[in-house]
Structures are given as C-alpha cells and as structure tokens.
Symmetry: C2
Subunit: 356 residues, 2 copies
C-alpha cells in the first residue's frame, strides 16, 4: 500500500500553455480552465499517489456511482495576487474542513489536510501566471470529490476521485440582483443535506430558479420548507439584511451552508462596531421593514460572488424596491474583504495564507 503522505506529488508538466489564448477582459465564469489540475484517487480504503497533470478529459465507466446517485461534494475558493506578485488564499483550511464535513454527510472519505494544502500550493505555483493582480481579479478554485466505483447498487462507493480544477474569474455577478422569496419550492429539509456542499443540492434549485428568472429575478432566497415563513439562504450565497443600522443573518443549521464569507462578515461587523444579530429572519419582518423604510440593505455573501447587493425582492406578488443606501454595509464589507484578500490591509484575524 502506498502512503501518499510520504511521497512527493507526481507532476506531469506541459510546455504548451493555453494562457496566450485567453482574453482576460472577457471571461465567462467557470468556462476557462488553467493548464493544470490536481488528482488523487481513493482505492481500497486509502488515498493513493497524488498527481498534478495538464487539465484534460478523463475516462469514467458509465456505471460510475456519481452519475447515478449524486455521491459528489465540492468547494469553491479563490486565489489572489498582491502587488508584489505573491499568491494569496483566503482561509483555505476552512474549505478543507467544510469539504470533509460535506463528505462525511455523504458517506465519503475525508481528504487529508497535508495532501490538500501541499497539492493546492503546488498546483497554484504551476498555474501562477493565470492569477492576475488587481482588485476584482482572482483564480476560482474548485476542489471536488466524486464516487468513481463502477457499480450501480445504491450504497456508498468504494472508490473516489479528488480533483482540483481552476478557472480565472472576474466578479461573479455584475450589477444588482433582484430576488424572489420562495413560497412553494424548497432547497432542503430538516435532517437533510442542505448544510453540505453536496452536488444534488444545486441541480434541485435550477428549475425553480428558471421560473424566477422568467419573472425577472436572478436568484431565489430560500425559506424554511416547513412554513416558508423564515428566510434562509440563496443557494450560492448566504443572505444578510440591514434594518436601520442592525445587520441580521439566519443562523446556520442542517439546512443552511456555513459560509466562509458569511462568517468573515459577521467578524467584520464586530470589528466595525456594527450591531450584528444571528437569528431567524421572517418574511413578515423584512416586508414590514421594507414598507416602513427601515430596510436599508439586503446582500448576498459567497466566495464566487463575494458580496452581491440586492436591489429588489418579490413575495406573494408584492414587489419591493430597496433604495440605494449611502455608505452601504455591502460596499464596506466588500472593500474590507477584497483589501484583506489582495494584501492591501492588515490581516488581524490571520485569514490570509500566502502560497510559497
């Protein structure tokens, strides 16, 4: 049995970079991939020799369990480049912790921290030229684990593949976002997998979101499946509400993802002496606040989007436009996060990780 912890990563290099063909001013999110990827297989109860190789298509049996039973988890994270061309990650160990929490809920093996951090750093050094400096530029990093065992019995697989692919990114959303508060469809159940970045959680949102988009809303803010009375998250973002000068966000639960951007904003609010309440937020409360003018902001928070200000919401056929607020918390937090991520400000909480 190989012990990958005692082995260097197998690296297959290529002299044929795709970089010269990429127009960094016109990137569509998630369609362009870097020159390399990291791959590590799990066979017979052990993670095998980790490898880095040119990004390429792979062969899978059509009976691979991921195709049939959705046994797949992922993470989203970003690398940044500062003015001195240092490559910086933001709280990367939190992503590893979370992919392992997700994996455990889907009966998948956890991935070892040492191999993850070493593999990710080695990959980013090879793909370093894909990371552009300048605030707003980043390299989106997608670690994921999929069940590869070629057998269609409905049970946990015996073999898995851990992969990291990378895609250069600009800001995920451009402009403000209009959202629909869910009244019929749901994202997750109590006792379900909503807290995990489980693949199946995302496909389940596509159809309801397409209905919302047909009505002019880019996203849905999901409510609790039992009553649809409480606002939870937006599928790819946690949600914050500002009523007067108090910031409110729903507590995490087995239905709500424990977002790293969310957690960072809660800390930044405290750092800025902004009153922050982590508690249930009802639809009625937000509609009343919108009516009486005390609702100052709604914004989403997530790795891909960073901060997405929300300009309007609809619930029960009532549409509420949210007026612009000067000195918004959304722009405050976005600037502070980007400054930390791009090494332009102090890092008092130790969130930066420099790739060396």
């Amino acid at each position: 049995m190989t012990n990958p912890l005692n082995k260097e990563i197998d690296i297959i290099t290529s002299n044929n970079s795709k970089l010269k063909n990429v127009d960094f001013d016109n990137l569509t999110f998630g369609r362009t991939f870097t020159d390399y990827m990291f791959v590590c297989d799990y066979i017979d109860g052990e993670w095998q020799q980790p490898k880095i190789m040119p990004y390429q298509a792979m062969t899978f049996e059509p009976s691979a369990r991921v195709f049939h039973y959705g046994q797949a988890v992922f993470e989203g994270m970003k690398a940044y480049k500062d003015e001195n061309d240092n490559v910086i990650l933001f709280r990367p160990e939190d992503n590893l912790k979370r992919i392992n929490i997700s994996a455990a809920r889907l009966a998948m093996p956890e991935f070892p921290k040492d191999i993850f951090m070493n593999g990710l750093s080695t990959l980013l050094k090879l793909d370093k030229d894909w990371i552009k400096s300048g605030v707003g530029n980043s390299l989106y990093i997608r670690p994921f684990i999929i069940a590869t065992e070629p057998a269609i019995s409905a049970s946990p697989a015996n073999s898995y593949r851990f992969i990291i692919i990378c895609s250069p990114a600009k800001a995920y959303y451009t402009g403000k976002v209009r959202v629909l508060f869910a009244q019929k469809y749901s994202r997750s159940a109590d006792g379900g997998v909503g807290f995990a970045k489980a693949a199946g959680n995302y496909a389940a949102q596509f159809y309801p979101t397409s209905l919302a988009q047909a009505k002019g809303y880019q996203q849905i803010i999901w409510t609790d499946a039992n009553t649809h009375e409480f606002l939870e998250e937006a599928g790819t973002m946690n949600i914050f509400f500002r009523i007067n000068n108090t910031l409110i966000t729903a507590p995490t639960s087995d239905r709500i993802l424990d977002g790293i951007t969310r957690r960072s904003i809660i800390q930044l609010a405290k750092d800025n002496n902004i009153n922050i309440e982590v508690r249930r937020v009802s639809v009625i409360e937000i509609k009343e606040a919108a009516k009486n003018g005390s609702l100052k902001e709604i914004f989403g928070a997530g790795t891909a989007a960073v901060i997405s200000p929300i300009s309007a919401f609809e619930h029960a056929d009532e549409v509420f436009e949210i007026p612009d607020t000067e000195n918004s918390y959304a722009s405050l937090f976005k600037n502070q996060l980007l400054n930390i991520q791009h090494n332009l400000s102090d890092d008092r909480h130790g969130w930066r990780f420099e790739v060396k």
Copy 2:
C-alpha cells in the same frame, strides 16, 4: 441539424461477448454489465444521432456539470424472458414518463418516446442472451441522463448524455429486511425533489443508512421531514402496511416517488378484492397495531427488489418483530407480479410489452 427521429440507430457491434465469463449463479447486483449500451447526446437544443456501442468507459471533462451540481436523473426497469424466449418489459412507457418528469424538475431536457422505445428494444435484442428465463432472473436496465457541459457555473447545462446500461440480476434482497423508522434524518422536503429519481436523493441517504446498518437495520423508512410522525418511503422502495386485512400505503407527493411497482400493487389489491387505503400512515398507528397484533405485514415494493417483506422495525428505541403471516399479501403480490412479468398469467391491464 440532424433529426434523429428520421434516422436509424448507429450500431457498432463487437464479436467479443463477455457473456461466457459471467457466473449467473453468483451475481452481485449492479456490478456486471452486458455487451452493449445505448447512448444519445443532447447538444444545441436537440437530441443527436442515437448510438448503440459496446459497453465501455467514456471520456468526460472534469468540469462536466454532473460532477459538480448533481444534474442527473435515472430509471430502473427490468427485462424478463418467458418460456418461449420472448423478451418482455413491464410497463416501460411508465419509466419513460417518469424519467421525463424527473428531468423536468432538474431543468433537463425530456427524452423522446420513439427514440427511447426503439433504442431500448434494439439494445435488448443485441443483449438478448444476457436475459435468462426462469422466475427470479431478469436483466436490470438503467436509463440515465447526465449533464455533460464543461462549465462550472451553477445553472442548467446546455449539453446532456442519455445512456442505457444493463446488468443481469437475481432478486435484489435476499431474506427479510429489518428497518428503522427515521426520527432525525430526512430524505426530502416539501417543495423539493423527493418525487424525482434525482441522483442527489440517493447519496443523501447513504450516511443515515450506514448508521441504521450499524444497528442491524438494512433500510430506513423515511418519515416526513417536518414532524417525523408519518411514514413515507424507503429510498429504494415504496412501503405497504397490512393491518388486519386492510392494505395501507402513503399517497404520493412531491416528497415520495410514484413507484410503478407501488401502482401495480394498488391495482392488484383491487383485483384481489383486498381493501386498499392510500392515505397518510402515522408511526403511532403502526406501533399500536404492532402492539395489539393487528399489524400483519410490512413490505417494500420497487423494481430492483420487487417485493421485500419486512420482519422488524425500530422506532424510538422500541423494537417490534412482525410475526410471519400465512398467505401473506407480500407473497401473493410477488407471485402475481412475477407471473405477469414472465408471461405465465393473463395480462388484463396491458402491463407487458414484448420486445420484437
């Protein structure tokens, strides 16, 4: 643009059958695949030229959306061989209807009926020798659709692959099954995708099921996520309860799969003048019936397992053994279904479909 409806299926044959290497007396469910598979890609808004080719591994981009967002649906069906070597399917159009219902909920394109029925029949004729006659033998058929577009934005894919693979099968479960009634974990939410054969529904059950298995229970009977008071389904089976001489099963909903075996049993109960009630079934009702002796049977019903008698259940640390019942409904329905499927009895409802 090709119009596959006007085209014959492209068939690539092989002279090298794997059949001679298969021990049909020692089959593990879902691990052995036949010589051929059916493949049809969806590109640019159209299903393309359908193909049949030797079963083989396929290449996919690591960014294929199925790996990240679980955009995948499937079906389970079986082919049988009668005493005259005719190949018989059981209600195959119901499987097509359901995979298209599942696909629509996951924002995937529906698959055309003509291509499905023609492709499936052609595939089964090529794989005919893999179907063994004799009650209990069958060929398990797995149609599935996966999102292949190589882009990791969280939205419906633009390209898909529809595949049918086949695996020779004996009965899925051997012996009686002990089950746990769910109290903490849930399978699906109101407004979710529980009614669909969505890939992600299955991986979400693996971990709770592994906990149940560690306690000696092979399966979980899921309860409603809101209250855990009502019994719903078993993840790979619908569930029937017999109290005295009345058969009870939960109504289908957006949380519960509309099982074809379930629907057939409801019809067979009527044919046999058995009182059948389709209504909510509470945990309390079943525990009381077990205590006072009126609970005569519990059994699961699904394509893979056909009928699985349940011998015991646990709820809230109370274990109930269900005594054997003479002339059980489980064996009555199983025999009647198998006789219809193997062309040994009348087919008054037109459920058989002979492959010609």
